[in-house]
């Protein structure tokens, strides 16, 4: 899965990147299932790999994006600080994770039925569900406003 993500972020062609990302999402859904979250795994496939990535693919193909991004200047000037930042952050995170005694304990067997998840979602977190639904509504309105034709002479 890390390999798929790595391939995803290094492709020049955005369409290839999205396809690799779908592969990575399927692998992540499998991990969710193994960690005892079957409903979330199913939604990962349906929402992320299904809806969101198709939206990306649709936009990329609609705009007809060509593979571009010609690098400027020598390679190490672009890559150097980035690799330094990423690797140092990774090292610090791993150090913090593995010096905690919690990290060596094992995750036990856990399986959460979709029914229990739904009960928690609509009883204790009902307010959060409402807020998220309002946010989806506002996002739809915002997308509509952004998608209107440009006014004349606004370029």
């Amino acid at each position: 899965m890390l390999a798929a993500t790595l391939l995803c972020i290094t492709r020049r062609n955005p369409v290839h990147a999205v396809i690799y990302l779908v592969t990575a999402f399927f692998a992540l859904a499998l991990m969710f299932y193994l960690l005892g979250a079957p409903l979330v795994a199913a939604w990962e496939v349906v929402v992320y790999a299904g809806a969101i990535m198709v939206l990306f693919l649709f936009i990329i193909m609609m705009l007809g994006l060509a593979p571009q991004e010609v690098p400027e200047g020598p390679g190490w000037q672009r890559w150097g600080p980035l690799v330094l930042l990423s690797s140092s952050m990774m090292a610090c995170t791993l150090l913090l994770i593995f010096q905690d005694p919690l990290a060596s304990k094992e995750i036990g067997d856990f399986y959460l039925a979709p029914q229990a998840l739904g009960e928690a979602l609509f009883s204790r977190y009902a307010l959060a569900v409402e807020i998220v639904s309002f946010q989806l509504l506002f996002a739809a309105i915002g997308a509509y406003i952004l998608g209107r034709p440009l006014p004349k002479g606004d370029n």
Binding site: P14, L35, L102
Partner: protein, 101 residues
């Protein structure tokens, strides 16, 4: 799944760093958005692993809310991408320097 908790956290950290690298490295706005998606997925992996570790339901509820919010974010962001494309016919982030920052 019988794995140490730290391994799940380390995997999520690797995923997050990959997403961050994508955001910092790529110039096209679409690829920057994909990097944000990867980082959000790393966060949801941490939520799921913690939910399984403490045998609680709350982590999975938060992941579902996170998915809904991500869907909203992607809808608005892609609408903005289309808007920027119509204005300037490019999606390279360096070109949008109209405020001369």
């Amino acid at each position: 799944m019988i794995i140490p908790f730290g391994h799940a956290l380390a995997f999520a950290a690797a995923l997050f760093v990959l997403g961050l690298t994508c955001v910092l490295l790529r110039r096209q706005i679409i690829m920057i958005l994909i990097g944000v998606e990867i980082m959000l997925n790393a966060a949801s992996l941490v939520f799921i692993a913690a939910s399984a570790y403490w045998q609680q339901v709350d982590g999975q509820v938060f992941v579902i809310l996170l998915m809904a919010i991500t869907a909203a974010e992607v809808a608005v962001a892609l609408a903005m991408v289309v808007y920027l494309w119509r204005r300037k016919r490019t999606l390279v982030a360096d070109e949008f320097n109209g405020m001369h920052g």
